[in-house]
Amino acid sequence: MREVVAVSERVQETPSTVTLRFAYPDEARPGQFVMLWIPGDDEIPMSLSYVGRSKGVTVKVMGSTSRHIQSLAPGAQIGVRGPYGNAFDLAPRRVLVVAGGSGAAVLAPAAEAAARVGSEVTAALGATTGSELLFEARFRQMGARVELATDDGSIGARGFVTGVSDSLLASTIFDAVWTCGPEVMMDKVIRSARRAGVPAYGSVERVMKCALGMCDACALGPYHVCVDGPVFPGDALTPLPEFGRFKREPSGRVVPH
């Protein structure tokens, strides 16, 4: 059930990304998300980028609500319900994290938790440009090996992060790959991991309304992202005709992704 909480801290992570912190009592695991309500505006799904007692979401501007969220100052009241969905399995000894854009928001707490229980973390982070690289310092702080890629080459390798992750997969042995980002990117990462014989897990996004497995807004093949996901094994995602190609708009109509 929903709690109304006050924003305790606002951190501008990159020019387009802001983290809001707030106290929210329910326990959460990395990978899970909350429904975040801006009273008077929309309620949207947001992965938890911090899962301790002081929770956090890291929001990229996409449209009016995410812009509204970014404008919130400490003290602003927001509605939070959840956490919902499943989490990353924190077992792998050597994990490769592949993040595109705000995908690092959900992967950072998972990697942190894995590192805390002894996993070796390698992070491939991608962004359009250097200033948009999210949580680079946070990954370094947890002791991860960090490789960067930017579309404009301003920092790290020029081009997509899949280039970086492909060469990591070719050169290093991993027990799992975790990825979050645009679906075409995740699709590539999952396929490369499969070729390297490494199980991959991707966190996917679909329109969320109830977040309770009822309204069907988040239908993805036979799954409901809100309860069966958002984290899926790559082998479940790649066979889906819609993965990387189609999504449903809020009306339920299928549209290109």
Partner: protein, 321 residues
């Protein structure tokens, strides 16, 4: 071994447990999933003429085990787009019932006609959404409108027509009888109860639409009362909906007069396994109570049986003033 098969106005159902409209009903694969999970039939999301986004979030408020408030705002992809979802479910063998909503009798008739064209086993007319101005319940509260809409639909389709009525009424019987006069093949009752939730810190309703509909266990006694009232007053079958979560709930509805039931909120509370669980539990309960076929006990609670061998006429409360 008890038997769960029922005949609903000519529609043969492998069991009486239908997926309620609006739950898992936007995608054909979800409908198929509910069918494969054991539903006796699946009712689509209510479909209108063209795509509707529905209301902005928050569209749902959880009340825990009691159920939910929702004001989805009838999101749907529109009747142009939707047939492919039905086809996907039918391809997997599902018995599909197509739900439609509209703004007047012509629109309902047109939508039902196009819905029937997809080969659905029956049509359900949503005349009872409590939170969509000018649609559904606004019409469904008026017996004359109910009769006119049903008649217009009846004239265009040959499959069974189920009219879903609202509990937000002084007289559910009048609505059911209006539907029957209009040619309905069955009545389903109930849709959600008009309700709201307010946050005292924010001083505002928590659903973006303000008013919404209450569903789930909290409304079971109300849905049951509607079925109880309607059953003896119509000669068409009644489908019970509202708060069903256990086999006992199902049997209560059946004994109140329901030939089949719809399950909505319980899917969110218990997962889609609710259908196989209900089937198994229902068979077990029927075995325990010596009931062979669902059809044998439809409306059974209306027949005041001799209890413990004492005929009721002799019992004191029938004698008191």
């Amino acid at each position: 071994m008890a038997d769960l098969k029922v005949d609903l106005a000519g529609l043969r159902l492998r069991n009486p447990l239908l997926l309620a409209s609006g739950i898992w009903g936007e995608s054909g694969e979800s409908l198929a999933g509910a069918w494969e999970a054991g539903a006796g039939g699946v009712i689509t999301k209510s479909i209108g003429r063209s795509a509707r986004l529905g209301y902005p979030n928050p569209t749902v408020e959880s009340l825990g085990r009691w159920g939910f408030l929702n004001a989805m705002g009838l999101p749907n992809p529109g009747i142009e787009e939707y047939p492919k979802e039905i086809a996907a479910a039918q391809a997997r063998g599902a018995t599909v019932i197509g739900s439609v909503f509209g703004g007047d009798a012509d629109e309902y008739a047109e939508l039902a006609y196009r819905m029937a064209g997809t080969g659905v086993g029956a049509i359900e007319l949503n005349l009872s959404c409590p939170h969509a101005e000018g649609l559904g319940s606004d019409l469904g509260e008026d017996p004359q409108e109910v009769e006119a809409i049903t008649r217009a639909v009846r004239a265009r389709v040959s499959v069974p027509v189920i009219v879903k009525i609202t509990p937000n009424t002084a007289d559910p019987v009048a609505l059911a009888q209006a539907a029957e006069r209009g040619g309905a093949s069955a009545i389903s009752a109930i849709n959600t109860l008009r309700a709201i939730s307010i946050d005292v810190r924010l001083r505002r309703p928590t659903l973006s639409h303000g008013l919404g509909g209450l569903s789930g266990p909290a409304i079971k006694p109300v849905g049951l009362a509607c079925v109880w009232q309607i059953y003896p007053k119509v000669s068409i079958p009644v489908v019970g909906v509202g708060g069903i979560r256990t086999a006992e709930d199902v049997l209560q509805y059946v004994m109140a007069g329901a030939r089949a039931v719809e399950v909505g909120t319980a899917v969110a509370l218990d997962g889609i396994q609710i259908f196989s669980k209900l089937s198994q539990d229902l068979l077990a309960l029927m075995g325990e109570l010596g009931i062979e076929r669902i059809a044998d006990v439809v409306g059974a609670a209306h027949i005041r049986p001799a209890v413990n061998g004492v005929p009721l006429a002799a019992a004191s409360h029938e004698r008191r003033p």
